[in-house]
Subunit: 337 residues, 2 copies
DNA sequence: TTGAAAGCGATACCAC
DNA sequence: GTGGTATCGCTTTCAA
C-alpha cells in the first residue's frame, strides 16, 4: 500500500551525492547533452543511480529553465472521436512519449470548456484545421509559440487527411457495382460544415469523372422527417445508390428507406464513411470507408516533433490510405462475419 | 496576422515597473494572498496594469514555486467515451477552469500510450474505478500525491455512479411492459469485465425482487455467431425480453433476432444502456437508459476541488439520476421522431 | 572530462 | 501596508 503523502521526490542532487559527482554532470548525462564528453564509467554510474533511486525529473523546473514545456496539445472537433481515431491517437502519443512529450487531446466543443492552451502551457498546439485569428491571439497571450497548421492560411479541408480520397472511393465503389444514378446525403448539423461540403464536392466531382448522373446533395436529419422525404424523393427520381457523409448519416438514410418499404441494397444502396462501430452493428451492416489512420498518426507525430525541433515540415498533411469495407448495404448478401 | 515568435511574455516584474511597486506586492494582489492588506488604490492599479499588459502567469514557474501543478488528470476506460460523457466532461472542465485547474482526460487504452501522469505532473489523478497497486506506485514515482478513488480499497463498480441503478431500471421497464421471463446479454470483451458483471448482477437481483424468471447471462459477440446462438436459445427457452449491457450489445442482439426471423419487440424485446447514438439510429430504435451525467460531472468537479484543497470528501461517488428512454425495441410502435 | 554558478518567474516568509 | 529575498529543481554557459 504505497503511501503517497510521505513520498519525497528524488532530485538530481540526490543522484549527484549518491554517485559523487556534481549535479551538473548528472544533468549532462540525463539529458544526453550534446557536445559534452562524459566518461562511460560515470555515465553508467549516474544512469544506474537514477533508476535505482527512481529519479523522475521535475517537469515544472525543467519547463521553467528551458522556457518551454513538453506538452503537445491536439485540438479536435467534437464529433470526430471514434474508436479508430482513438487508437490512432494512442499511436501518436506513444511515439511522442518516447521523445518525452505528452500528447494531450482536447475535443473542443465550441462554447464548452475553455481551451486547454490557456492553462496547460503547451509547447505546440495542433488543430485538424486552421485556427481562427481569435484563437491564435488567445494562444499567443497564453505563451504558445508554435501552432499547426500554420496560422494565416484559410481552412482547407480538402488538404486534411483522407477527406477527398474517401469520398472518391465511395463513388468508385458504387460505380463498380453498376450504379449510374446516385445522390449525396449530408448532415443537417452545422458542425463540421466545411468538412461535409468538401467531401460532398469530391463525390460530385468523381461522379462526373466517371460519367455518372448525380442528382445532388441533400441534408438529412434523424430528428425531423427529412430522411423520409429524401428517400422518397430519390426513389421518385430513379436514384439507386446514396453516398453518405458518414456512417451515422448512412444509418439514418437506410433506416428511412426501410421504413418506406424499400429493400437495401436492391432498391437503394447506401455507403457510409469512417467505418465506425455503427457501420458494423447496423442492420443491415453498412458499407463504409476505413482510413488507415495509424499511418497518419505516425505522420502526425513526426510533424509535431519536427516542429518542436524548430525545423517545421513544409507540407503539413499527408494523404491517408483509405479502403472500402463492403457490407450488406451495398453488396446485397448479408455477411455473417 | 499575429506573430507568435515575436511575442515576449509579460512577467510580474513588468507590472511592478509599470505600476511602481515591488514585484512582491504584485504577487499579493494577483494571488489575492490572504492576510495581506493592500490598499484598494494600488490593488486596482496593479489589476489594471495586468489586464492592460495582457499578463498571464507562467505556469511552470508557479508550479515550481508552489510545489504542485494545477492539472487534474482524469483516467477513463477506453470504451466509455460517448457524446453524453463528452458533454459531461466539458461541464466538469468548465467548473475546474474557474478555479484555475486544467482537466485533462486520458482514455486509457491498456497497452496503449504510457499514462499521462508520468509526464504531465498532475496534482490529482482521478479514475473511474480504483487503480492497481502498480499504477499507484508509478504515480508516486512521478510525484503524484493525490489519487481518487483513494488507493487501497478494491475496485467496487457497484459504487461507481449509476451502475446498479441503470440495470435496475432496465429490468423495471421490461417488468412494467409485462415481461416475466428475461435474460441478460453481456459483451464478450474482457475490457470492463467488472463493470459488466456488476451491471449483470444488479439486473439479476432486481429480476428476483420483482419475481421475474431470469434465465441467466450470456456473452454475445458481433464477430462470431454467438449472438445468433443466443437468440435461438432464448427463443427456445421462452424468453421474451433481453437486458443488454449497453447499446452496442442491444444492437447486436436485435440484429441477430431479425436475422433469425423474429420481430422486435413482438417476439423479443431488447433494452440497451447509455443512450448512445446507435440507440437512436438503429433500426428499430433501441430503448435505453440515459444517465444524468451532467449532475455527476458537477459532483466530480466538487470532489476534485475539495481534494485539491486538502479536505477530501468522505464518500467519493454520488448516485446518478437515470431515466429510461423508451423506443421501438421495447414499446412496439416505431417512432417517427 | 567535470564543476561552478547564473538564471528561469512566481511564491511566501520575514522584516520594516 | 509594502518590500526584500530565499526557494523550487533544472538547464546551460563558461571556467577549470
Amino acid at each position: 500500500m504505497p503511501d503517497l503523502a510521505a513520498a519525497r521526490r528524488v532530485t538530481a542532487v540526490d543522484i549527484a551525492k549518491e554517485v559523487g559527482v556534481s549535479r551538473a554532470t548528472v544533468g549532462f548525462v540525463l539529458n544526453n547533452t550534446p557536445g559534452k564528453k562524459i566518461s562511460e564509467a560515470t555515465r553508467a554510474r549516474v544512469l544506474d543511480a537514477a533508476t535505482r533511486l527512481g529519479y523522475q525529473p521535475n517537469r515544472a523546473a525543467a519547463d521553467l529553465a528551458r522556457g518551454r514545456s513538453k506538452i503537445i496539445l491536439l485540438v479536435l472537433p467534437g464529433r470526430l472521436l471514434g474508436p479508430s481515431l482513438q487508437a490512432s491517437l494512442d499511436e501518436s502519443a506513444r511515439i511522442l512519449a518516447e521523445a518525452g512529450y505528452a500528447l494531450v487531446t482536447q475535443t473542443g466543443a465550441p462554447g464548452g470548456a475553455p481551451p486547454l492552451w490557456e492553462t496547460l502551457n503547451p509547447d505546440i498546439v495542433i488543430g485538424w484545421t486552421t485556427f481562427s485569428d481569435d484563437e491564435v491571439a488567445s494562444m499567443r497571450v497564453a505563451g504558445v509559440r508554435r501552432v499547426l497548421p500554420p496560422p494565416g492560411e484559410s481552412a482547407r479541408y480538402d488538404q486534411a487527411p483522407g477527406v477527398s480520397e474517401g469520398a472518391r472511393m465511395q463513388v468508385d465503389h458504387l460505380h463498380e457495382l453498376g450504379h449510374r444514378r446516385i445522390a449525396v446525403a449530408s448532415l443537417a448539423d452545422p458542425q463540421m460544415l466545411d468538412l461535409q461540403r468538401t467531401r460532398a464536392e469530391a463525390a460530385v466531382k468523381r461522379a462526373e469523372e466517371l460519367g455518372m448522373e448525380m442528382v445532388g446533395v441533400r441534408s438529412v436529419s434523424h430528428a425531423d422527417g427529412s430522411s423520409g422525404e429524401a428517400v422518397r424523393a430519390w426513389a421518385a427520381d430513379g436514384v439507386t445508390a446514396v453516398v453518405a457523409y458518414n456512417d451515422d448519416v448512412a444509418a439514418t438514410v437506410a433506416g428511412a428507406a426501410i421504413d418506406a418499404g424499400m429493400r437495401i441494397p436492391a432498391d437503394l444502396a447506401v455507403i457510409g464513411h469512417d467505418d465506425s462501430p455503427i457501420a458494423e452493428l447496423f442492420h443491415p451492416p453498412l458499407s463504409s470507408v476505413r482510413m488507415d489512420i495509424i499511418e497518419a498518426s505516425r505522420y502526425l507525430a513526426a510533424v509535431a516533433l519536427r516542429e518542436a525541433d524548430g525545423r517545421p515540415m513544409t507540407s503539413t498533411w499527408t494523404e491517408l490510405d483509405s479502403t472500402v469495407v463492403p457490407r450488406a448495404s451495398t453488396v446485397g448478401r448479408p455477411q455473417t462475419g
